[in-house]
Amino acid sequence: MKNGNEAMESRLRRGISNLTPNRAEEIFHQPVEPADGSEWYLDGVNAKRRGKTVLRSMLAVAACFVLMVSGLLYREGSVTTDVYLDVNPSVALRVNHSEKVVRVEALNPDAEEIVLAVGTDAKNRPLQEAVDLVLDQLAAQGYLQSGSDSVLVSVRARRGDASDLCTRLTKVVHDRVKALVGSASVFAQQLSKEDSDAPDTMPGRDALVRKLAARLGVPESELSRTTVEQMVQLLRDRDVDPEDLLDDVLDDDWDEDELDDDQDDDFDDDREDDDDEDEVRHSGGAAAPATSNSLPGSGSGQSSVIRDDDEEDFDEDDDDEEDDDDDDDD
């Protein structure tokens, strides 16, 4: 695949090179007004701020520090994130700000034995370790088998954004399942705060059922007894890419070697000012401190960018356009 990609990449580069105009001289001689850092085109760009904007930033940081300190008094035992693992058993892990598990719950009868076997071992453990315990039991009790069982990971942040945790957790689950049974298919989604967490519901699975029913035009009741694997297969049978409905998909077509080659040691998300501002803004000042037991890569969330109607229209454009994936073998 790499050699084929390289040839195509070269063609695209040459094509763009032929089209790119040379306007350096013209641009250089146009007068420009020096920026002060508050301009809209610098939104999400890591830049020094001048004058009032510096003072405002300092005041914001100071205010957030005060909130953080007061927030420390409240946190322990307070659930900030709900993580759901669905295979056929549905398990919920309630997680606090430090990404430690407050409690593990069974959401359906099949999950009760899983949770019983895990016992209190998961309580107060870092999320990754608790997830590993649950996955170990799922495999031990025959719910995870190589090539035939998919895992749905659903994450809902009660405050702020769950996308970073969702991405990290997906990889953790994928790696563990692959280690346990030899292959893994992991599907991930973020849930909104509006997704029901009422008793006798399985929020992760229910969200997928709703999306699937809407996409396939079938009643939700028809899907009520299907496993995650069966739902994914239904999508593939109808030539629907699971990624259209879910936020992340990791299966064994994913090239880990390519991912490793892509690692850039100099690239450090945590140092971006916009990430830090985002985390502070979203958490209301009670930003989660990184700990040695946190999931790998834990740190700041996504950078801020211009978010306006155009961004939404711009993203909707992509959703509306047909993805010609007839030949894909996902």
């Binding site: 695949m1 084929g4 990609n5 195509m8 990449e9 063609r11 695209l12 580069r13 040459r14 094509g15 763009i16 090179s17 032929n18 089209l19 105009p21 040379n22 306007r23 350096a24 641009i27 250089f28 420009v32 920026a35 850092g37 301009e39 809209w40 085109y41 610098l42 939104d43 760009v45 890591n46 830049a47 020094k48 701020r49 001048r50 991405t167 990624e243 992340d248 990791l250 090239d255 390519e258 991912l259 892509d262 850039d264 690239f267 140092r271 971006e272 000012d273 996504q302 960018v305 211009i306 109607d309 155009d310 229209d313 711009f314 992509d318 047909e322 993805d323 010609d324 030949d327 894909d328």
Partner: protein
């Protein structure tokens, strides 16, 4: 005999295949050589990215020009973080979004004003021309961005994911699938 040795200070290097962070301070001082060096390194990346979002050549050229004007205006604010190209491309993205907002005001304009317009005649090689045409025909906006940022701008997939706000695994899988689709389309066209 006294021997005098003249020690020559190392002259700044205003060339390279990738933008150098040290150029920004010089650009802020109005240094032409530094600006030209940055333009030479980054213009194709900026143009490709803008083209992938706007899908209109004239608009992409305008945004590219505007990007470098903004870079000149904000060069003194650049914080060395080891990612000069990503810094520039964020500005490009913001400018493109503003361009899209302005296009919305043209919603009542005749359709031909909103159609993708990319002239490929200047591309010398037939295969290169076909590759770019296929990209516009086969890939949606998000896929085009992902492909252009890696294939042309040379961004790592992680950097692309950060810039576009996407999971990295999504970027990786979409990139590979997009290129596969392009290869297949080219094979069909060349038969």
């Amino acid at each position: 005999m006294l021997i005098y040795a003249a020690v020559q200070a190392e002259a700044p290097q205003w060339s390279g295949t990738a933008p150098d962070e040290r150029w920004f301070a010089a650009i802020a001082q109005g240094d032409a050589a530094a600006f030209h060096a940055l333009y030479d390194c980054a213009s194709e990346s900026v143009f490709a990215f803008a083209l992938s979002i706007l899908r209109n050549r004239q608009d992409a050229e305008d945004v590219m020009q505007d990007t470098f004007l903004k870079v000149r205006a904000a060069a003194h604010l650049y914080e060395p973080m080891g990612k000069p190209l990503a810094w520039i491309l964020r500005i490009t993205r913001n400018l493109c979004l503003m361009q899209l907002r302005q296009r919305r005001h043209l919603a009542s304009a005749p359709p031909e004003e909103l159609c993708p317009d990319v002239g490929f005649e200047e591309i010398q090689s037939a295969e290169d021309r076909l590759a770019l045409q296929s990209a516009f025909q086969c890939l949606n906006r998000q896929e085009m961005q992902i492909v252009m940022l890696h294939a042309v701008a040379g961004l790592k997939h992680r950097e692309t994911a950060q810039l576009l706000g996407l999971p990295m695994s999504t970027v990786l899988s979409k990139y590979n699938r997009s290129l596969k689709r392009l290869r297949e389309r080219m094979e069909e066209q060349l038969v």
